[in-house]
């Protein structure tokens, strides 16, 4: 086709039409098409991986937000809970959770009889094992706070144990129950009848966000309360500590420091620090803050200090980049109308660089939010049940955990119910990250100026 001639005089050169691609052109076009295809393939593969990851996490973890709950009236038997009958708090405290467990067991069995739910030979002990180990503790707390409850009948809701809960979420089936030493198919059938009778239902569980961690015997009551508080404390402290330090360092290096060997050295070191593996900062934190500085172990303060060390180089680099992006004309103009160097920086350059600085800070904060390694070394991967105190009463010195280490701790527990909890915690962590990244994008969109 390319031989089609349009000019009969042009003999030595083969005539080519602009409309008909030559061999070279075809090759170039093909190369371009191939490159596009590679690019699309790369994006499809990464999107597919992301989709698979999100799908597994959500299908495993979304059930962590709901919980099988038992609701039944409990008669506070005075003979068991206050054997001396004097309502003296000191004597009431002597009745342990074992006594309260018996009260709950009796109340549940009484409710089953009342509602005509056939137990079909499930023993009283096995019915009692429906109730989570955390329920007696809560009941005891209620009674110690208000002794007048003794003798009354109150409506009480208690979590069902992990296996019963797993049955309604599809994790435990009749087949696995046959082999499982912790639950029997008869118990599961009874659970079905209890659900039909309205004693048991699966509902949204806000306590997953507020409860502290729980021991291996009661996965159903384990929650993220302490981890969320610890994470919030750490993030707040990291911002307070790293933003002023990082921005000040960056401004000095970018606007004031003389260009010499020494500042070059500092620059190289900052870039290097940004690439140091996070676990190294953990070791440093253990040596300096805990062993040398004497700060309390497992506290969010030490965690925040370590994460600050980690976040600083990134913040300095991001801040310097956005300072550099402010055109020199702004600086010259400011100096030209008589501003001092400090005025020039703080009145003109810094406000213009702010969106970039904030974006960089939020992104480095998001990285440190997901950091586990250094926290393991400073004792934040611990079993902490008591909530840290408020921020003003020294709560940052109290032991706490963080979201990513909670995921790590739960994933290692032997009861499979904790896998669901770990995935649920990942979802919460992802939500945190998503919010922070969206804030970063909004800041950039709204305030960034292009020159």
């Amino acid at each position: 086709m390319s031989t089609a001639s349009t000019n009969p005089n042009d003999v030595p050169r083969k005539a080519e039409s602009l409309l008909v691609p030559s061999a070279l052109m075809r090759r170039r076009n093909a190369a371009e098409a191939r490159f596009k295809a590679y690019g699309i393939a790369a994006i499809v593969i990464s999107l597919a991986t992301l989709a698979i990851m999100l799908f597994t996490i959500f299908s495993d973890g979304i059930s962590a937000f709901s919980q099988a709950t038992l609701r039944f009236p409990v008669t506070m038997d005075a003979a068991t809970l206050d054997p001396k009958g004097n309502r003296d708090p000191a004597d009431l405290a002597k009745v342990t959770t074992i006594g309260y467990k018996k009260v709950l067991e009796k109340a549940l069995i009484a409710e089953l009889t009342q509602r005509n739910v056939d137990v079909q030979g499930v023993s009283a002990k096995d019915i009692g094992s429906f109730i989570s180990g955390d329920a007696p503790a809560r009941l005891r707390e209620m009674v110690l706070a208000d002794p007048s409850l003794i003798g009354q009948t109150i409506d009480f809701s208690a979590f069902a144990t992990g296996r019963i809960d797993g049955y309604f979420k599809g994790r435990v089936t009749m087949e696995t129950a046959k082999l499982d030493s912790n639950i029997s198919p008869e118990q599961l059938q009874l659970a079905d009848r209890m659900k039909a009778a309205g004693i048991l239902d699966v509902r949204f569980n806000p306590k997953f966000f507020t409860n502290p961690d729980a021991s291996d015997t009661r996965p159903e009551s384990a929650g993220l309360g302490v981890a969320i508080i610890g994470t919030l404390y750490m993030m707040a402290l990291v911002v307070v500590l790293s933003l002023p330090l990082g921005v000040a360092a960056a401004i000095y290096l970018e606007e004031f420091a003389p260009q010499n060997r020494f500042t070059d050295l500092i620059e190289v070191n900052i870039s290097n620090l940004a690439a140091v593996p996070s676990i190294v900062f953990g070791i440093l934190g253990l040596a300096i803050f805990i062993n040398f500085g004497g700060l309390p172990q497992s506290s969010s303060l030490v965690g925040a200090l370590v994460l600050t060390l980690m976040a600083l180089p990134t913040i300095i680099i991001a801040t310097r980049a956005s300072l550099r992006a402010v055109p020199p004309s702004i600086r010259t103009a400011a100096l030209g109308v008589g501003a001092s160097k400090v005025q020039m920086v703080f009145h003109h350059v810094l406000p213009l660089a702010m969106p970039g600085i904030l974006t960089g800070t939020i992104l480095s904060l998001a990285t440190s939010l997901g950091e586990t390694g250094p926290l393991l070394l400073i004792g934040m991967e611990a079993f902490v049940v008591n909530y840290p105190a408020g921020p003003l009463s020294g709560g940052v010195m109290d032991p706490a955990t963080a979201l990513p280490v909670q995921v790590y701790a739960w994933a290692a527990r032997s009861d499979p119910a904790f896998i669901e909890r770990a995935s649920g915690a990942i979802i919460v962590l992802l939500a945190f990250l998503l919010v922070m990244n969206i804030v970063a994008i909004i800041l950039r969109r709204r305030f960034e100026r292009r020159w």
Partner: protein
């Protein structure tokens, strides 16, 4: 120069303010990840039933826990080290050098170590000799040491299933591995006669050292991919076993008891592992679990004495307590331990 001065003084102020402001009111525990679930169960119940804050319990491993305890005396050091192996003379020396002179050794129960395979797979009735024959690097064959080439369990012992050998054993950093090595592999080494073949070639100054070297040689596992070290937790072993149904894994008894719907346990020398058979000593592969208490902290850290009393009480560590329900083998001599804890007797020198 100025910068260094500022840094040093900042750190000094930080340290000083921290030491002044701190008065720790919670008990801090760290150590073995095997003891961790038991310690958390006790800590949780302790927090619920006593007027003290719930103790903070950390994992990290037996050795790390003991090292932390031996760092010194004071509120920024831990009070209790959980351990799945006995404290070593080296640890005691470190402790003493750092001023931790009186340590209470509390043995609160036993932990069983079991072999388990996929629940749908065939039954395994193992003996130490079978495990040694399947997993050791060198085995005895016709009176000579040869490289282990067995590919199936049936080749090791005809009564075992004809299934490819793949064993998931705990990595060398685990306390479980030590028990696996001494109670199974070395026992099997001696049973099969491989030990007697290794002993003459072992190096050492005297017989005792030679015997030790021979035992170490026994513990060498094959490296052709049939014995796989798992450095993570039992959950990782379970995940690997899920992926390859032919595998046989090593687990703690309590882990197995929480996953009986996925795992089938193997008998060892004909004995089914259970809390009863381990307590009676019939099932051979078990180890004592300890925690070590820094005596100088008793009376200083509120609730410490109450916590350790509560830990070894019949309500907790007894045969009907929640720890036994979770998989702890109750110590038959618990009463003696209770008396020791109540009296606060520090441990004597290691024998």
């Amino acid at each position: 120069m100025k910068l260094t001065k500022i840094t040093v003084s900042t750190l000094a102020i930080l340290a000083a303010s921290a030491t002044v402001s701190m008065a720790r009111d919670n008990i801090q525990v760290a150590g073995s990840s095997t003891v961790l679930p038991y310690a958390t169960i006790v800590a949780e119940a302790f927090g619920e039933n006593f007027d003290f804050p719930t103790p903070v319990v950390e994992g990290g491993g037996s050795g790390a826990g003991r090292a932390k305890m031996c760092e010194g005396v004071g509120e920024n050091t831990i009070d209790i080290a959980n351990s799945s192996s006995r404290i070593s003379q080296k640890d005691i020396d470190t402790c003493a050098a750092n001023g931790v002179t009186e340590i209470m050794e509390v043995r609160f129960g036993y932990d069983g170590i079991v072999f388990a395979s996929d629940v749908a797979g065939p039954d395994f009735a193992l003996t130490p000799a079978d495990v040694y024959g399947a997993l050791a690097a060198k085995v005895a064959k016709d009176g000579a040491l040869v490289d282990n080439t067995a590919a199936q369990w049936a080749e090791v012992n005809a009564s075992l299933p004809a299934q490819d050998i793949l064993a998931l054993v705990p990595g060398t950093k685990h306390g479980t591995r030590e028990v696996f090595d001494t109670k199974v592999i070395v026992a099997g080494c001696k049973e099969t006669g491989a030990y007697d073949l290794i002993l003459p070639t072992a190096e050492g100054k005297d017989d005792k050292e030679k015997a030790k070297a021979a035992e170490t040689a026994c513990m060498e596992l094959r490296t052709d991919g049939r014995a796989v070290d798992i450095d993570g937790d039992y959950t990782e072993t379970l995940a690997r076993l899920d992926a390859d149904k032919n595998a046989v894994g090593v687990f703690g008894l309590s882990f197995y008891q929480n996953n009986t719907d996925k795992l089938k346990v193997a008998t060892m020398s004909g004995v089914v592992p259970s809390t009863e058979s381990i307590a009676s000593g019939e099932y051979p592969v078990s180890r004592p679990l300890y925690f070590y208490v820094k005596k100088a902290h008793i009376g200083v850290i509120p609730g410490l004495q109450e916590y350790i009393d509560f830990f070894v009480s019949d309500d907790m560590a007894g045969p009907d307590g929640p720890l036994a329900a979770y998989g702890l083998v109750s110590d038959p001599e618990l009463a003696a331990t209770q008396a020791m804890v109540a009296a606060g007797t520090p441990m004597g020198p290691l024998e």
